[in-house]
């Protein structure tokens, strides 16, 4: 742990709160992410995990507290700005551009690379051609990394479920993210698919030297992937540490089994 604390802080959430009416979805929640580490976020349904993702990515603005990303205050950022700063995410309910082709899904996420103005597009100037070509190559490259290159021209909605999840990750990777947020990447997968997914995430983590924060219910996925786990209940941190430590923590077991205090 001591080595980690010296490395650069990617994300810093400081006593963040989010209220919906009278409900405190997250309550004085603090979290620090260090560069290159894989973090896990666990907790029973309704514990506030996705709400944390939504406050980081600007879908929700926190009711109180501060969020910093590489020392920049992103507390009241808007969603597209978060993406442009390099926070990529996937969604719990897959959100692809379902009528578009697999390739287009990734190409659409490269809008930041398409740094040309309207005249360049309308008159098809060399700059437009060059950038568009680069984007296509980049997108194809990403699909290859994900093993989806054979399906590049299929409709995204026609892909099997597991591939759709991978495509969503490919799309997030098109942002060249520094931080990747994965919302239940293994949801709905069987044991074999789970193992494959773990290897796959490990692969992109090393290859792109990413910092990853993932929400997951499958404890074996968490145990295999994460260096550090935070357990959440009713919007509050109830335990944190290595996967093994958290797994054996009494408060976590109680939260999952619903033991009355």
């Amino acid at each position: 742990m001591s080595a980690k604390q010296e490395s650069t802080k990617v994300l810093c959430m400081d006593k963040v709160e989010k209220h919906f009416g009278g409900v405190r979805a997250i309550d004085a929640f603090s979290l620090t992410l260090h560069e290159g580490v894989v973090y896990g976020l666990i907790g029973p349904n309704g514990a506030g995990k996705t709400t944390i993702f939504n406050t980081i990515t600007g879908i929700y603005t926190p009711s109180a507290g501060k969020i910093h990303f590489y020392e920049k205050d992103i507390t009241s950022i808007r969603p597209f700005e978060a993406a442009q700063l390099g926070i990529g995410r996937t969604f719990q309910n897959i959100r692809l551009f379902s009528n578009m082709s697999v390739l287009d899904n990734v190409v659409m996420a490269c809008s930041m690379d398409a740094d040309y103005k309207m005249p360049a597009a309308i008159f098809r100037l060399p700059k437009y051609r060059k950038l568009e070509k680069q984007i296509n190559e980049k997108a194809m490259g990403l699909l290859e990394t994900m093993g989806l290159e054979d399906r590049a021209n299929e409709r995204a909605s026609s892909l099997p479920y597991g591939h759709q999840r991978k495509l969503e990750i490919a799309r997030a990777m098109a942002l060249n993210p520094k931080l990747l947020l994965l919302d239940e990447p293994a949801a709905g997968m069987n044991a074999d698919e789970e193992i494959e997914l773990v290897e796959f995430i490990k692969g992109i983590h090393q290859r792109f030297s990413l910092t990853i924060l993932l929400i997951e219910h499958h404890m074996d996925v968490v145990a295999n992937l994460c260096d550090h786990v935070t357990a959440l209940n009713f919007g509050k941190t109830i335990a944190e540490g290595t996967p093994a430590e958290v797994k054996s923590n009494q408060a976590v077991i109680d939260a999952y089994l619903g033991v009355a205090k």
Binding site: T50, F53, N54, I59, F91, Q92, N93
Partner: protein
């Protein structure tokens, strides 16, 4: 002067409310703007008119026939178009486009069948006005105000106190869950269309009595649409408040400023209100779940 205008405004707003509540009910269930609703009111007015002029029926019988006709046409729209689109699981946008198509169809069909000429109901009510204190209020305005008040109170009681109303509210919350709970969703939706149609028919006849009957009178649907947006789409009390507000503003605007600028003023006000409250006065701004 001001109070007189206020009463006139409320009476017009009441008629808008009859259409707007139907609009809102349908919106709350199916999440789309039923553009053909104004045309249902127009057709109701024509049915009543034809009952008088062609069948020589007494006025009250014609009114009943007009309301029933409007209700059936509203149900016909649901059976012909909306239900199929729903069962195809097409996007909601298609419901609105279909409704737009139906609206154009009815408006022009009415022109083809009845001609573009204005038709008049026989004078059943005296065109005089009654004096209350130093206010002079048209008999028609007063009758219309009373009728709408009664109808709307009954509607609210139906929605809040009966089993049918409970089913409607359940479907509005989540139609799939309602279906699982054993509510006959399609039947319930059909009943709502009948009810909305009847309310619109009532409004059409009142409008016909106050002004005339003509093919483009269904454009009052736009007013009802504005009223329900003002109040918050899908909220019945919101629709009533929005409609009364719109009626009063329109009357005051034409009374004190200029009748030419009436619509401009109400539209500007609409935009201002939406900028302050993006989901209308009584609507709930629901955020999509990530």
């Amino acid at each position: 002067m001001f109070f007189q205008q206020l009463i006139t405004g409320l009476s017009i707003g009441g008629v808008y409310a009859l259409i707007a509540t139907g609009y809102s009910l349908v919106y709350s269930l199916l999440d789309f703007s039923n553009w053909a609703h104004g045309e249902v009111a127009m057709l109701g007015a024509y049915v009543a008119f034809m009952a008088i002029s062609a069948l020589n029926l007494p006025f009250l019988a014609a009114v009943v026939l007009g309301i029933a006709g409007a209700a059936l046409i509203s149900l016909f729209n649901e059976r012909l178009a909306y239900r199929r689109i729903r069962h195809n699981k097409s996007p909601n946008m298609f419901l609105m486009i279909a409704a737009m198509g139906l609206s154009t169809t009815y408006q022009n069909a009415a022109t083809l069948v009845f001609g573009a000429k204005f038709k008049q109901y026989p004078n059943v009510l005296p065109i005089s006005s009654v004096s209350i204190g130093n206010l002079r209020i048209g008999v028609l305005d007063l009758v219309s105000l009373i009728i709408t008040a009664v109808v709307l109170v009954v509607l609210i009681i139906v929605i809040n106190k009966t089993k049918f109303g409970l089913n409607v509210r359940a479907i509005a919350c989540n139609s799939q869950t309602a279906d699982l709970l054993g509510i006959k969703v399609d039947k319930c939706i059909a009943t709502v269309f009948l009810l909305a149609g009847a309310l619109a028919g009532c409004a059409g006849i009142l409008l016909g009595m106050k002004y005339n009957v003509y093919p483009t009178m269904g454009n009052v649907g736009v007013k009802a649409f504005i009223a329900s947006v003002l109040g918050g789409l899908g909220s019945v009390p919101g629709a009533i408040v929005g409609a009364l507000l719109l009626g009063v503003i329109e009357t005051l605007a034409s009374g004190y400023l200029s009748s030419g600028l009436r619509d401009l003023i109400s539209f500007t006000l609409l935009i201002v209100i939406l900028l302050v409250r993006p989901a209308g006065l009584m609507g709930v701004d629901v955020q999509e779940k990530a």
